[in-house]
Amino acid sequence: AAGVIQSPRHLIKEKRETATLKCYPIPRHDTVYWYQQGPGQDPQFLISFYEKMQSDKGSIPDRFSAQQFSDYHSELNMSSLELGDSALYFCASSPPERNTEAFFGQGTRLTVV
């Protein structure tokens, strides 16, 4: 069965650079979530989209932005990267039925040096 695809799987950037993380949800899923997980931490909700519109916003820094495109894939854009942005970034998707489980991708490990 198709799963949530994230790319790239690993990314190394220098401070003050920009990064773009991509997420391809499971076909037919219309909701996408982005989470940030630091070492030994729980996933922190960043932002979510439903039917290509931003639906909820969490602890996403102003330096980050995200959008969901017409084909439902989503991109998380991160600018002016800081060392503290180093983390695992997960994308998850949910089907149209409300309040259902979230299917997580493998994650993108971002390292800022």
Partner: protein
């Protein structure tokens, strides 16, 4: 803000012992989900509870949703080495849209 706390943070058990993690939300939840994350892996959905006082079982795992829909628990009977990982509860708060807030997690280690 909406917070979801879990205790304990860590638990080491001998194989065959039971394990319980408790989840407590600062606000009433519309539903609660449980996820398991293996080391180096991603969160994997286990179950969702919706009704007040609901209890669900999956083999050796028993999940419970509190009467006030602000707390939940996961109990594993006779742990096995395959149970190793971090268990997260995740809740949707009433009036909080579709946002899923994760608990702080309980890391389980099982020793032979």
């Amino acid at each position: 803000g909406q917070q979801v706390m879990q205790i304990p943070q860590y638990q080491h058990v001998q194989e065959g012992e039971d394990f319980t993690t408790y989840c407590n939300s600062s606000t009433t939840l519309s539903n609660i989900q449980w996820y398991k994350q293996r080391p180096g892996g991603h969160p994997v959905f286990l179950i969702q509870l919706v009704k007040s006082g609901e209890v669900k079982k999956q083999k050796r795992l028993t999940f419970q949703f509190g009467e006030a829909k602000k707390n939940s628990s996961l109990h594993i009977t006779a742990t096995q080495t395959t149970d190793v990982g971090t268990y997260f509860c995740a809740g949707r708060h009433r009036g909080g849209g579709n946002k899923l807030t994760f608990g702080t997690g309980t890391q389980l280690k099982v020793e032979l």
